[in-house]
Symmetry: C2
Subunit: 385 residues, 2 copies
């Protein structure tokens, strides 16, 4: 006697689809986009017989935006040859944005959604790192913790590597998002599960716990899970309250607590947070990464960073203490077209002048997720070795 839901039965259900239209499983979806061509180009297409004009926008589109061509009922656009990467796009149909109905891969960036696809050519290339492969997988959790300093219950995402349950303690990377983002930004747009699973499986990164908190001190969680629209101002800053996060992680996860096993990095506002969190706790983090960071001291909003560094003795003392503790890696990365590049140049000139040891990586492009994924895939392999 065999107990399985037969393919026949499923097929029968599906065959009923047109007549009943009860749930999405029965719905016919558009198909065939994106199509990966043998010559390394990708064709994006959309069935839209009634549309007057269809554009495609995205980072795989030449000039970021192109008019699509109509052939029969379908509009299409073929990209140039694409290097291994994760790409995004969406359609604009008679002035209204539409995601690709053929493609379930899409991600949210703050309030904006894009369809996405990955180009990969060989194991270990940039696209490969972002893809799902048959390797040992870590787990992802969304956990709520008490933040006594902020006075609310807050949510964060935590990645634990494959094998975590086997008993030993792991090093921890605190990975911080940018302004407008939340605790879902790195796990989704940042492809953290994929990058870490793949880097670890390839033997390029040490197994580690990755903690992705919500960096907005007024919020309890991503707007998709938020239960608290806070009206009062938080009692302290996120950077100071960061102890609440570290304490929760150290009490609930099997972590190594020494500085050599602790790293922090973040993008944009999360780079600012990284800067301040490490300044406030010299010697606590052996690895510090500023990704397209907003760099400034929090004490005077009117002064430029240059003025702050020149005139604020307390700022100088904090930074001096961080470097006196000799972190193994103080890593600064930014895109050549990033609007925060001047600020980073200023900060690097200051570090050079003081003789503080750091490493610098300058990429192409601006203030974009593509860069932050790349930076993570470069930074993580440097940790805990």
């Amino acid at each position: 006697m065999r107990h399985k839901l037969s393919i026949t039965m499923l097929a029968l259900w599906l065959a009923c689809s047109g007549a009943m239209a009860q749930e999405a499983i029965f719905e016919r979806r558009d198909q065939g986009s994106p199509r990966f061509n043998a010559d390394g180009t990708v064709t994006l297409s959309l069935r839209a017989p009634e549309a007057q004009k269809v554009y495609v926008v995205g980072d795989c589109v030449e000039g970021q935006r192109a008019e699509m061509k109509k052939d029969g009922d379908r509009w299409s656009y073929t990209t140039g040859q694409l290097a291994p990467e994760l790409y995004n796009y969406r359609f604009v149909v008679d002035g209204v944005e539409a995601l690709d109905p053929s493609n379930i891969e899409r991600s949210r960036d703050v309030r904006s959604f894009m369809s996405t696809f990955i180009v990969t050519k060989e194991v270990g290339d940039q696209g490969y790192l972002y893809g799902n492969h048959d390797v040992a997988h870590g787990n992802m959790a969304q956990v709520w913790y008490d933040s006594p300093q902020l006075g609310i219950q807050r949510r964060m995402s935590i990645y634990t590597p494959a094998g975590y349950d086997k008993g030993k303690n792991y090093p921890v990377l605190y990975l911080l998002h940018g302004a407008g983002g939340d605790e879902e930004a790195w796990p989704t747009l940042g492809r953290v599960q994929q990058i870490m699973d793949n880097l670890i499986a390839l033997g390029k990164a040490e197994p580690m716990i990755v903690v992705m908190p919500n960096g907005n001190a007024s919020d309890d969680a991503s707007p998709l899970l938020s239960g608290l629209a806070r009206k009062d101002r938080p009692k302290t800053s996120y950077e100071k309250s960061f102890d609440d996060i570290m304490k929760y992680v150290e009490n609930h996860y099997k972590v190594k607590k020494d500085a050599a096993s602790t790293a922090v990095c973040g993008l944009s506002m999360g780079g600012y947070h990284t800067f301040m969190i490490s300044n406030l706790r010299p010697g606590r983090f052996n690895y510090i990464g500023l990704f397209s960071a907003a760099i400034r001291m929090g004490n005077d909003n009117r002064a430029s960073l240059r003025e702050q560094l020149a005139n604020d003795p307390e700022a100088n003392k904090m930074i001096s203490s961080v470097f006196a503790a000799k972190p193994s890696l103080y890593w600064i990365a930014i895109g050549r077209e990033d609007f925060l590049k001047d600020q980073n140049d200023t900060y690097r000139a200051y570090l050079d002048q003081k003789g503080y040891k750091y490493e610098y990586f300058e990429s192409a492009g601006g203030h974009i997720w593509r860069n932050w994924r790349i930076y993570l895939s470069m930074f993580a392999p440097r940790l805990f070795k």
Copy 2:
């Protein structure tokens, strides 16, 4: 000295937006939809000056589909007065579907996306149960486990209630999705985090662990996280391999393992799985719930359920054993318009004839998520009391 990222600074960044267009945070989004009106109606609208014709489809729309009216650059539609519920909709712009760009609430049903919103009038109503409130929150995790019986590593979602870390053991509900769905279906469309947090906070349900596995024996995970496109057929059925899931949960979570602390329920194909999983393990589950279940024995695809129940002694023996163990609750729920209603009627007639004790709930509507959320919110409060 105060260390906070100033509002001024954020405002400055945002002000730069038009000029730089580097990331989504800088992007202006459409706004103002959905708008909740004082009279209990909801206005859905979309800016689309160039569109020729815009429809809105969804379960909040009278007749499921309506033409929208253009006023200036905006198209709009106002619903009738809506009862507390979670509603879905999307726009069709010159024949192409588009989600509401003003609304970040959207969910995936297999390959289909809809915008969603919640109507709630008072604490405890159906819409309230699906919303995020300032209550103690449980955690959600996506974990990978070994399934020796299916021969692959597989992914499931697990909810642990607030207070889980305090040491005691919890009862477990295994909650199964339908055909085409995956381990993300109940957590997203099913609003499990919200329903469980709210029911527990209201004192209506016992704190429990909720396990949501992937019910497709050939898949390792949701297509969004899948690393394995399996070519061979699984060595056994999902229902038989279910021991792998229970074993993982019992080894990795603080669970009560007795039948009185174990429940299983599922929708559609997950109802079939529930039926077979409980048939194969009489006395193991004290609470069994069939939500719009596909009910049949797996051994003969050609015979009708009626014929199977009449002629298959083994089927009769299995079902008899389940009821001989006297489960506290054997709950059957289905919508009046569900295409599986006949099958459920047949099964209930059989149970009645045999004198097997069950409870029955018949709702309005068909084979839809609205019903399954309602069923969960009715079933969970009955468990472990």
